[in-house]
């Protein structure tokens, strides 16, 4: 009996051989898929430029290709947009470790929202179970699986991309496939990434993750509201990371992890707005940042009551 994975590989091989045949026969647009794509779309992707160099028409073409490919691959109608950053907004996050109970609701909401692979370790948020009285990350355990949480004598420290203001991952990228957006989000152009994983090595927070396989998820669970620099379906062999849910936050909505958290430990907002909740936290609560001494200026604070 074949496993699901080997079926997937066979299907991929069939698609590849079929597309090769179609290419030989003259490259019909509606013919069999070329890696989940038509020949024309495959050529369009091949000549696609870096996100920051594409004109508006080229971006529109790229978005159309993404939607068509998702339709062929998963049979789902998704909308992929390129939402620009808002003026006068720099996003920041604050997390109350007195309130976090280690439920991991944020993790599962993030996986669903961002169309992540269901079987692998591709999870943007890692909830660390820490012994009380220490911030020593060596003592952290993120595979914790007790009957109930919180466990006595422990606290919980969710770690995700800190959206550093001086991001070492961006400096490490040899092809500039990742950069800091004006609203403070470090994004990845998945089509420009070459998968060298230097950025993963450079990141001090273990916040970047590599697609060892094409993200596999049931079509009915695909989130159709996607963004080019956000949660669009990713190819195999690229690095991805938390992007503060660009598809939501750039439209004024809360990120999925904040929405999912039942404890209210997560506070998201605009660092440039003096009346925002996050500014109140930064001004009035005891806050700290992880590995602040590295000078990467993370925009993710932890605080206690």
């Amino acid at each position: 009996m074949k496993s699901k994975d080997s079926d997937g590989i066979d299907a991929g091989r069939r698609r590849f051989l079929g597309a090769a045949g179609a290419a030989v026969a003259g490259g019909t647009a509606a013919g069999p898929a070329w890696g989940g794509s038509t020949f024309l779309d495959a050529m369009g992707s091949f000549f696609q430029d870096h996100y920051q160099r594409m004109s508006d028409e080229e971006i529109a073409d790229a978005l159309d290709r993404i939607e068509r490919r998702a339709k062929r691959r998963y049979g789902v109608d998704i909308t992929c947009r390129d939402t620009p950053p808002q003026e006068g907004v720099v996003f920041g996050y604050a997390l109350n470790i007195s309130k976090c109970q280690g439920y991991r609701d944020c993790v599962s909401a993030c996986v669903r929202e961002n169309n992540q692979d269901r079987g692998s370790q591709m999870q943007y948020i890692r909830v660390l179970e820490m012994p009380e009285g220490t911030r020593e990350l060596e003592a952290a355990e993120h595979y914790y699986d007790p009957a109930t949480v919180p466990v006595d004598g422990h606290y919980y420290l969710p770690v995700q991309c800190m959206q550093c203001d001086d991001p070492p991952c961006v400096k490490a990228c040899p092809v500039e496939a990742t950069w800091l957006e004006p609203d403070g989000i470090v994004v990845v152009d998945y089509d420009w990434c070459i998968g060298c994983r230097y950025c993963m090595t450079a990141c001090p927070y273990w916040a970047r993750h590599f697609n060892w396989r094409e993200p596999q998820l049931p079509p009915e669970e695909i989130n159709p509201d996607t963004n080019y620099l956000g949660n669009r379906p990713r190819p195999k062999g690229v690095v991805e990371k938390c992007h503060f849910c660009t598809q939501r936050t750039r439209e004024g909505r809360q990120p999925a992890c904040q929405e999912a958290c039942p404890t209210g430990a997560r506070i998201f907002g605009n660092l440039l707005d003096p009346n925002s909740e996050i500014r109140y936290v930064l001004a009035n609560k005891p806050v700290f940042r992880l590995k602040e001494e590295l000078g990467t200026e993370p925009k993710f604070w932890y605080f206690t009551d």
Binding site: G102, R104, T263, E277, F303
Partner: protein, 219 residues
């Protein structure tokens, strides 16, 4: 006047220091000239201005914190199972005696170590509302006014956004959950809960200590 200790070989520094000292003394003498300087250096207590007498009128009812950003509390009355309470209680005379209640009321009040009972928060007259200790009527939608009488620090944090949860949008109108959306007023302690599953361990990378742990458990 000697050089300050530790300023060896830097005469320029000591000159600057001397100038600063002179400036400070000049300023201090000017300031002293304005106030009548008592001989022993202390002003008698009676010399201090008298503060205004306390206002005998009751303080105005609490109306939010100064400079707190505007917010709207997500209404809760629609979620209450047996609301309106007056549907039954209008048929009964209020009984102020402390006693154990029966269904549909909660059997136990696990809040405040037995200090309270129902009518400390629920209004005896006009059951569809709560009341504060000062007798102010409070809607169930703004139950936070009742909670804040004791839990003032979390309430302040909540009003400013460091406690509680903002709903839907980070931008635009600020809608937040009220206290009772998350905390059951009759049993406010947060109960332990089953966590979501841990991240899967990639094939071939199973953590040895976890395996050993399970083997020991299996034996």
């Amino acid at each position: 006047m000697g050089y300050p200790r530790g300023s060896r070989g830097r005469p320029g520094a000591s000159v600057t220091g001397a100038c600063t000292l002179i400036a400070v003394f000049t300023f201090a003498s000017l300031a002293a000239a304005e106030l009548p300087a008592p001989e022993d250096g202390h002003r008698p207590l009676r010399g201090n201005p008298v503060t205004a007498a306390p206002d005998p009128a009751p303080p105005p009812p609490f109306d939010g914190y100064v400079n707190a950003p505007a917010f709207e509390v997500v209404p809760r009355r629609g979620e209450l199972k047996f609301f309106p309470c007056a549907a039954c209680h209008d048929q009964m005379a209020p009984n102020p005696e402390r006693r154990k209640l029966f269904s549909p009321h909660p059997a136990a009040l696990d809040h405040g170590d037995g200090r309270f009972w129902c009518l400390d928060c629920h209004a005896a007259e006009g059951r569809n509302e709560l009341h504060t200790l000062a007798g102010e009527r409070v809607s169930f939608d703004r139950a936070d006014r009742v909670c804040a009488q004791c839990h003032y620090t979390p309430h302040r944090d909540w009003a400013f956004g460091a406690h509680g949860k903002r709903v839907a949008d980070w931008q635009g109108d600020r809608r937040i959950y009220g206290c009772a959306h998350c905390h059951d007023p009759h049993a406010p302690a947060v109960r332990p809960r089953v966590p979501e599953p841990p991240p899967p361990v990639r094939a071939g990378l199973a953590r040895p200590e976890l395996e050993e742990h399970h083997e020991v458990e299996g034996q």
